[in-house]
Symmetry: C4
Subunit: 380 residues, 4 copies
């Protein structure tokens, strides 16, 4: 009111604040196609499993591929530090919570064994599925060729925040266009959360961007450094960048919302906010086949000086197939995620993902509260 | 702030966020008329009982009718799957919570017995009241004539989201104008929650629309598929459609807010948002006469692959007459719902429902919190 | 977004959502005058005690007057239904919570004894203080002359919602201008919460309006009938009416915020929203001298068919003098209410109530949360 | 909606409501400079320790200085009332919570011993660090020369709300320009929270302003007097005053956000809102070296008539060095605060504090809730 402004604050939105408006036409859920193209690949379902050690093992990646999705194996975690990664994961599951941060810091300070890169890739390829692996920007240039040589089909380059321009004293920033020229497979890069950063990344020639800075259940980046954008706005903005880039160049870059999705409802909202696919961590760590044995932790948790995140107990809900395709034995939206998406598309009248992206979104902060407290008090 | 927008988010409102402004004139509650016309019928109170198996049995519908309202019997639930529906309801009441979803899924997979349709209608008609029954869109065309033949006076066609245009591979979408021509009784259709969908439904010739996608206490559609509109905005938008349609055609279609109403305050707010009547589930399941024996569950709960909702313990508060007309023995607004409406109309100065629809609504998110935590801490 | 609107929702505010901006000049608290003129009377502090049976007894009214404020005795409660009102209040204090609504309904159905009106007035007057008494609009015309005859100095006419125009079948609406002509003492009327209603009441010639529909800790009007306006907006709007009326007529009508005030902070906010004084119930019921013995209940609680409110345990904090003037032994703002007001006026730089009314108000929903959860978790 | 407004409410923001947007360029955290100039001094880190008795002792101030920051010793607390301040602090730590307000009121009513002023200053100076001490405005003029004479390098003048113009009957308001002329050392003044008040203070010639009225974890000023501005808006507004004053005069006055900061995330947000440095109380009271023995209390807590605040148990987390520079053993952002700032600057692409001040801020009320409740429920 008359006072000079130092800066304006932009309103941004998260999953719990929005809902999708039903449409004037409805379709039967079995009419909805949920296919997801990425580079030359076409996946039956728009779901990637996160490159987290508690979520994707080589065998989990195979299972995920056979079910129509894509599991991304982290090649800088326990699978490339330990021959017996399974044993390490078992040790982590058996360690009490008060000792877990120290143990994670210790276990992840073991050196990377480059010889394991090819072995892990081959374990996935032997399952007959598309193989996706992830590196950090620091190691991507050096290690990616090893993985691609061994047969990796898709490369994911991922850090908490990744930009097309990174300044460092100790190493030359990764130039993504050079990486793409070198590996000659589709490259997915993340994470980013803004229009500008997404557009710059798209202009390097990549095939997909991972959206999300700090939203996951196993991540506390927002508490520790104050940086973050809620997933609905992050997805909306990066989808706007995709449309702008698509109209200008004719090249369509996949927008993949990564982190913070807990239910089928969140998955539907991510698509309605403009995502082409989602990357899931905690929800898939609840699969019987997940290597975390009912736990999950973020890849920033083992940071030696500034751990951001902790191990959370996610429990085991059912097989991966049940979590993705049901039948659901719970009613909170955490099972039959693909069935939820189809049903949501039915209510909205969307025949495919591109149409679902056009469903109106509502800012409905009360959507959860309405009747919820009452309900909780009375659930008998 | 300069960034291109993928889409805008519209602000929408729920019961807990609004309150009604008192008016410059007050009237005595006994001056207020709460009559509700529907088709050729005129009900003494603007209250329908939900077509839920835990709420309306044939005898409950008779009681509801004698008290001036309208109970809707669901003819695709236990009453048309089992001769001994009472026994099935007793079994459900005796089953522990952890087994209830599986039991509901099993019990509701029993086939519909069309012979029971006429029997249930006659049980209601023998009570000397108006008889309303409900079907899903899939079965409405085939089963409605049987119900009307047996004497049903009002037909309700209801699914989670219903539109005038539905696309399906397996069956031809229900054409409501054809249904109306066929049954020649008032038809009420739901649920819908948007201006466009409501207007299209009205244009088919129906007599009432049920408003509400996913708001009820026994429903988790919003968690599972992310689709939903809070009830105040849904009611406001569909009331706007009713006014538009009324001005254009001279035909007045009843707007009935269905779901999420827990107290007399919510009921008053629904009317002030433009509703002509309300449909109540959980509040009426608390009547001694309700068939749920102190429980309620949504009709989407038994879904075989994607259950949305669960059984909630609602308890038993008093007779249906007490819940509707008092005297109240509790002070939280869950008893004497019609008395609450009359008192609210008195404070607003509204002589009838149409005048109550014109009362100003306030966006008052704090309205509950103010003094509430303090109060709870101190309630002795 | 293009959809026709049935009605717009106005944003309104409550105590917990706002804070007062400190000013560019500060003054010492002892520089601030908190005097409150009402009609020909001038009170040392801008505090009235609510006309509630658990708050004001004749002896409490005397104590309140001696401390510079004004206690209002309800002449339609236990003090005019029972000779031995003290005994009745003791019985209420000794009754367990689950039986209290029924007991209140029973005790308040005893007939009013008009002979007690004069007796109670004289009990207050014998203490040598200004005597204020309250009636409902239904009884005000008949009973007020009795009270004034006995010596009452100020008349309060109060119902949940009171307007200048009330429509009833059973009695002619009270005409305030006639009442004022008849009693020839200052008349305070309430409750109201809107600009229009306040302005119309002021135009009848009254000296003060009570602001607040349903905000008190002992009241559940908002749950039961959905009607209510949070106190900050109600006070702001009625203060705007006062200014409009004052500019037009030169007559200044006191705006008294009644209900929902729990702390010195709330008191300061009410004044900053435009109030000239406040009426306190629950905070004063915590005085050793209060007749409620550590409990409070609203005057709508005993309603025979639709009780709105319940007995709350407020406890006993200290003497009335301590609650008003300290020293405080607690740090939550519930003691030394007048000291809080002086300190707030010091931070704002306000020398009197009229200047405090001009302090900027901020919409600061986070003001309480910031650091609060952290603090609670750590309070050792 | 057409109703005349008594006043408008301005929207203001606190830490929990905002987040920082990541930038289009990232830098390595070790590239970021966090230096903080104040007057002729240059500090390695932008962190001051609060002038609270439970936070800064003479030895703590020395430790703080050696780590690159600045500890401010309160010369009106126990350190200048008692020779054996350590013993008093031990007594406070050993006293149960229900007796603490009374004990604080008693202990702080002991007279100030002016002889201790010089002694405490020399204790700090003997450590070889910059010495900062604080007085209230009432005592600053009389006592500051004693402290400066003894070697104090920086003077802090602090009250809950301080303005350039204060009106008092009992003493002449402090004229800051006179004080500055007299002491000839940098003067920091606080607290203020508005553009106007900050600008007026800057115009007196001071070197820094402390921002924050009532936000700290150990303070209840907002509950008690209703006055306060959440820290993000307070910092934004005072930073706007700094820019205005800087552009007009070329003199740069430090803006120091004081209070309410609990985590590295909050610290980053304060800088992004325009602060040059932060003053920390509760987070540093958790250092092994803090004199509060795991407790903290505000300097308004011992107020004899209107205590605002209480002793809170903060616990002991690690050494001061660990809290400032890590390594962190917890993942909630309360350790390695400077590391958090560097990492945040890295994600934003800010090479120094001035660049971090330009990072976009988002209004993201959901930023904490998203996934948080889920997470808490599942943390194993």
């Amino acid at each position: 009111m008359g006072v000079p402004q130092f800066k304006e604050l932009r309103r941004v939105y998260g999953f719990d604040e929005v809902s999708i408006s039903p449409g004037p036409v409805t379709i039967n859920p079995d009419q909805a196609s949920v296919e997801f193209p990425l580079g030359a690949f076409n996946f039956a379902i728009p779901v990637l499993a996160s490159a987290m050690d508690a979520v994707v093992s080589p065998s989990f990646a195979v299972k995920m591929g056979k079910l129509g999705g894509l599991g991304v194996l982290n090649l800088e975690g326990v699978w490339c530090r330990y021959e017996d990664a399974e044993g390490v994961l078992q040790e982590l599951a058996n360690t009490p919570q008060e000792k877990i941060t120290a143990l994670l810091q210790k276990l992840y300070s073991a050196p990377l064994k480059e010889g394991l890169i090819g072995q892990r890739v081959r374990e996935i390829k032997s399952g007959g599925v598309v193989c996706a692996v992830s590196f950090t920007p620091q190691n991507a240039k050096r290690m990616s060729p090893i993985a691609v040589e061994a047969g990796a089909d898709i490369l994911v380059v991922q850090a908490t925040v990744t930009t097309a321009r990174h300044v460092s004293k100790s190493y030359r920033g990764l130039v993504f266009s050079e990486l793409i020229d070198m590996v000659k497979v589709p490259v997915v890069v993340g994470n980013c959360a803004t229009y500008d950063a997404a557009l710059e990344l798209m202009e390097t020639g990549i095939d997909g961007v991972l959206i999300g800075v700090g939203p996951g259940a196993a991540c506390t980046t927002r508490e520790v450094v104050g940086v973050g954008i809620p997933q609905i706005t992050a997805t909306l903005d990066c989808a706007a960048a995709r449309e702008e880039y698509y109209q200008r160049t004719g090249r369509y870059v996949a927008v993949i919302t990564d982190g913070g999705i807990r239910t089928g409802g969140d998955l539907c909202k991510a698509i309605a906010a403009g995502a082409d696919a989602v990357m899931l961590g905690t929800p898939l760590s609840q699969a019987v086949e997940a290597p975390g044995h009912g736990y999950n932790w973020g890849m920033a948790t083992p940071h030696p000086a500034l751990p951001r995140g902790t191990r959370i107990k996610t429990g085991t809900k059912g097989t991966l197939e049940q979590i993705l395709f049901g039948p659901a034995t719970v009613t909170d939206g955490t099972m039959n995620l693909v069935g939820s998406l189809r049903m949501g598309m039915g209510m909205v009248g969307a025949f495919n993902i591109r149409e679902m992206q056009r469903a109106p979104l509502l800012y409905a902060p009360d959507i959860k509260a309405e009747g919820k407290i009452f309900q909780m008090a009375q659930r008998g």
